[in-house]
């Protein structure tokens, strides 16, 4: 394999998959058969929905976890443990709260055994570069989110890595702060002032990827795969309002909503559809979106990027909502648009009690798990059933966390629709409602 590694290839990922053992049955595959080459001098974005395994891929490259199958090479050497020359910026900043800004930045150098005076010089240079002058002796809790992430960047840059990994570095920041940080970073990059050769970033923000990256790998979910590779040739600094920019963003939106396959992890003998992962979205949120769509200016049809913009929502969040409405047959999603169905329009016009009835109808008919719970409760003489009964069945299809979220969602929807009651203390579903 070494012969194919050219001088400029930093990273060579081949056929990497990653699966996690489940309670029973087959393993849960989060990443399947991914190839990726990274050359020097480029910013590459891994774009995908949550659960598309892009963070897992980043952690495999960072040497924090290992692939189940496939190989990962950095500069021709297999990755087993965090390689020298790769550093990482975290979504949650991951700063040590008991260390000052300077000490946080110096930490990586200390671990490498860099001598004291050189350490100080390099740390101060990195702090200077990233615009943290004057904050050297502050503790992280005294800083705003943006300043904290700047410390995260300084800490990653100070070790002079060849490759800087960024795991959704701006998603914990507010819109304005994130924009400032992005442009600052891109500016330093095009002026070649960053002591790094390449950047690999994970994001679920489409515009961010188009704004910063030279190349975007779009991931599909369940299991995570590279669905498309998109080159972005616009010169920096890029203008979000440029029609070509907008067009690219729209086309990625369309691609990501192209085939709205429901997230069915597996279909087994227990009946199709039980293994559907449900996102914890409250009935208020769903009703709110239906009302928004039904009203002006959308009148039942909306462009998803536009909708995301006006609702101040991340694309990912909106995708979840749209998909859930689609699952419940209140809306239809295709080609980057969302369209209300007749049932959706009717829902918008009903009063509370009738809404609940309609919602209950759709739940029982279109969410297999709800149908199952209802059936079991009707059949049993006691009209009660422990949550474990359903949890076990769910865990045949999905991880414990997903099973938990799915069950919580079903409880919340079932309560709203007055389909069944649930006692949290005894973890028991029942048909009786308190009078």
């Amino acid at each position: 394999m070494l012969d194919t590694v050219s001088q400029t290839d930093l990273l060579d990922i081949r056929g990497v998959s990653r699966s996690f053992p489940k309670g029973s049955g087959e393993d849960l595959v989060v990443l399947q058969d991914v190839d990726l080459k990274l050359r020097t001098g480029e910013i590459v974005g891994l774009l995908g929905r949550s659960g598309s395994g892009k963070s897992t891929l980043l952690r495999i490259i960072a040497g924090l976890t290992s692939p189940s199958t496939g190989t990962a090479h950095y500069r021709g050497a297999p990755i087993d443990g965090p390689p020298d020359g790769i550093s990482m910026v975290f979504q949650s900043f991951a700063l040590f709260p008991w260390l000052t800004v300077l000490q946080n930045v110096e930490l990586g150098l200390e671990a490498l055994g860099v001598e004291r005076t050189e350490r100080r010089t390099r740390a101060l240079a990195a702090i200077d570069l990233i615009g943290l002058d004057g904050y050297e002796s502050a503790y992280p809790k005294e800083l705003s989110g943006g300043m904290r992430q700047r410390v995260g960047f300084a800490r990653a840059l100070v070790v002079h890595p060849d490759l800087m990994l960024m795991d959704e570095p701006f998603s914990a920041l507010d819109v304005l702060t994130a924009e400032t940080l992005r442009t600052d970073l891109v500016e330093l990059w095009i002026e070649r002032r960053l002591p790094i050769k390449s950047v690999l970033m994970v994001t679920h923000n489409i515009e961010e990827a188009v704004l910063m990256c030279d190349r975007i790998l779009v991931f599909s979910s369940n299991p995570g795969r590279v669905a498309a590779e998109i080159k972005v040739d616009f010169p920096h600094p890029r203008n979000r309002l440029d029609p070509a920019f907008r067009q690219l963003v729209d086309s990625i939106y369309a691609r990501m909503t192209q085939r709205p396959e429901p997230k069915i992890a597996a279909e087994g003998a227990a009946g199709p559809g039980i293994g559907l992962v449900l996102n914890a979205l409250s009935s208020n949120l769903l009703a709110g979106l239906i009302e928004t769509l039904a009203g002006g200016p959308y009148h039942g049809r909306a462009d998803l990027p536009v909708l995301a913009e006006s609702l101040q929502m991340e694309a990912d969040e909106l995708f979840h909502l749209a998909e859930t409405l689609q699952l419940l047959r209140f809306a239809q999603v295709s080609e980057g648009d969302i369209v209300l169905t007749d049932a959706g329009r009717r829902f918008a016009d009903l009063d509370t009690d009738d809404r609940k009835k309609l919602f209950a109808d759709h739940l029982v008919n279109y969410v297999p798990l709800v149908g199952l719970i209802r059936r079991v409760l009707d059949e049993r003489p006691s009209h009660t059933a422990p949550a474990a009964r359903f949890r076990n069945e769910l865990e045949d299809y999905m991880s414990e966390d997903y099973a938990d979220e799915t069950l919580k969602t079903v409880v919340s929807w079932g309560r709203y629709a007055e389909l069944f009651a649930y006692d949290e203390q005894s973890e028991l579903f029942s048909l009786e409602n308190p009078h």
């Binding site: 924090l64 443990g81 965090p82 975290f90 040590f96 008991w98 070790v159």
Partner: protein
């Protein structure tokens, strides 16, 4: 004695562990009893006359008290140093090795419920045999007793913190190539610091009680007195000198105030930076000693080299760098090694069980077991009644104080001081009253058990009431919720988790105190109540080791069951349903 009261004692509810004692608890119990038997057995084999101990005599002259106080304090600090070393080693091992964890954690759990003064009986014999005829052995036994009162909850706290280090910091430290040793000192320990310091403080408070109790102890026909406040009081009791006891109480008071101001407060104020919060909080703990230290250039420059040494020590690049892959993810644990390890543990437990049974059955019969359990139930009743009574008194008082912030601020340090004050110094005062008025021993000796520990209930309730959200109080006010309904629907649920924390500490302390509280003397008048504490105390002074082992084992089981069947479910319920915010 902190400025602010951290609420959670980590010692109590490990996540994901079941309430009922499991097989590992039984294994741990067997191992502990087995080791006790081995120690006693070894001691009897050597059978050096223990009386040949030339310790300097204690005198009741108050002029000696400063020296005695100093020696008592030194013992405390030595024990604290040992506890810290133990904590770091034991918790690190348990947190990093899955197999060690399987045994170490249940062991720690049972060790927590072994009565501390019960340890003393064995360790005195053991250490005196280690250094025959020398005071060092007795000193070590005393330090060890204090150590046993301090170490367990500190270890639990560190272990739990290490298991809960945030994932991102963990990944960051691996990604930046921190070695195992560096990681421990730069990440694990700083993260655990607030919990560890809080538990060390609780330990110190508890420790004064045991240092006082263990400075003068009789095992069989050996009486050991180490110069200190405890032995001073013991002599005062022997000579019926109430004034001397007054002096001792005064000396202790001063010692605890000095310890609070000079040691504890500066440490809490310094450790504030380790609190894992991403936002600055309102009030920060302050300490004039720390301020003085930070402002004085001379003192600071003195500490400079020391700090540099510590830093370079913590920066040693020991251990594997950036330990490749998280242990669960990398490769599944080897089943063969697991099986071997399990076999070793089982054999060890069987052996421990076997020697314990053989030792006990040589002299004791089934009737003895029944009588020990019977005595245990008497003490259990006492603990339950006392906790109930103390709650009845201190919960309303605590709520009343806690809802008045100004007052609470002033009262809280006093209450915490009372909790630290070794109540056994005050026992003679009660005993004198009982002797003089000929009161019923079984009833009137009981309050001594809770004399020192009731304050935990009070200060936790005050903390809970202080933290009670004012908007909920306003809601109750605006809907005219008053009287009984106000207590049951509003305040009591709100302070419940805090109350439970306090009651757990108080109940544990009361079990411990029963060994010194159920038997008391004044001059040559002996008072003896019925109960397991008295059973153990009498067996100890008679040198009847099989009965001591039996008594301790029974107490251990009762305390563990009591904790698992009552306190843990209540605590879990409180955390799950009633924790505000």
């Amino acid at each position: 004695m902190g400025v602010r009261v951290p609420i959670q004692t980590n010692q109590f509810l490990p996540i994901g562990r079941r309430f009922l004692p499991n097989i590992w608890d039984c294994a741990a119990l067997l191992l502990i009893v087995g080791v006790m038997v081995l120690i006693v057995h070894g001691g009897e084999q050597i059978s050096v006359p223990l009386s040949a101990l030339n310790s300097p005599p204690v005198s009741l002259d108050p002029a000696n008290l400063p020296e005695y106080a100093l020696r008592t304090t030194l013992r405390m600090l030595t024990a604290m140093a040992c506890s810290l070393v133990f904590t770091f080693a034991y918790a690190a091992l348990a947190a990093k090795s899955r197999r060690a964890e399987m045994v170490l954690i249940p062991l720690l759990d049972i060790l927590q419920s072994v009565p501390i003064l019960g340890f003393l009986t064995f360790t005195v014999v053991f250490f005196l045999n280690l250094f025959p005829g020398r005071v060092l052995g007795a000193e070590l036994a005393c330090v060890f007793a204090i150590f046993t009162s301090q170490a367990w909850n500190m270890t639990f706290s560190l272990y739990q913190s290490m298991r809960n280090v945030p994932k991102d910091l963990n990944e960051a430290s691996r990604s930046f190539h921190l070695g195992g040793w560096q990681r421990f000192w730069r990440l694990d320990v700083p993260f655990a610091m607030p919990g560890l310091i809080w538990n060390a403080m609780i330990s110190m408070s508890g420790g004064w009680f045991f240092v006082v109790a263990s400075e003068a102890i009789t095992v069989g026909n050996t009486t050991i007195t180490l110069p200190g406040i405890g032995s001073y009081v013991a002599l005062g009791i022997q000579q019926r000198d109430l004034a001397a006891i007054g002096y001792a109480i005064l000396a202790m008071l001063l010692v605890i105030i000095a310890y609070d101001q000079l040691l504890f407060r500066p440490i809490v104020a310094w450790a504030d930076k380790f609190r894992f919060e991403q936002t600055a909080s309102g009030t920060e703990p302050t300490s004039w000693v720390l301020d003085l230290f930070r402002r004085t250039r001379v003192l600071r420059s003195l500490s400079g080299p020391f700090g540099a040494l510590l830093r370079s020590l913590s920066n040693l690049r020991l251990g594997r760098r950036g330990i490749a892959i998280a242990r669960s993810a990398a490769r599944p644990p080897s089943r063969v090694a697991d099986a071997v390890w399990l076999a070793v543990v089982i054999v060890g437990c069987c052996y421990a069980g076997f020697i314990a049974l053989r030792y006990l059955s040589a002299t004791l019969g089934f009737a003895d077991l029944l009588s020990a359990v019977g005595q245990g139930l008497i003490t259990l009743t006492r603990v339950v009644v006392l906790i109930a009574l103390a709650s009845l008194i201190w919960v309303p008082v605590g709520v009343w104080i806690g809802l008045r912030p100004k007052l609470a601020e002033r009262v809280q340090p006093v209450v915490q001081f009372l909790a630290a004050f070794p109540a056994n110094l005050a026992f003679p005062v009660f005993v004198v009253a009982i002797v003089r008025y000929g009161l019923n021993v079984d009833v009137f000796l009981s309050p001594l058990m809770i004399l020192g520990t009731q304050w935990y209930i009070l200060f936790n309730v005050i903390a809970g009431a202080s933290a009670f959200p004012s908007d909920l109080r306003e809601v109750a006010g605006s809907f005219h919720v008053r009287g009984w309904r106000w207590w049951i629907k509003v305040v009591l649920p709100g302070i419940f988790p805090y109350y439970i924390t306090g009651a757990v500490t108080a109940s544990g302390g009361s079990w411990n105190a029963s060994i010194v509280a159920e038997v008391a003397s004044w001059g040559d008048t002996q008072l003896r109540a019925n109960g397991l504490g008295a059973y153990i105390a009498t067996a100890t002074s008679d040198g009847d080791f099989p009965r001591v082992v039996l008594g301790i084992a029974v107490m251990c089981i009762l305390v563990t069951l009591f904790n698992r069947l009552l306190w843990r479910p209540l605590y879990a319920f409180g955390e799950r349903r009633l924790r505000l915010g």
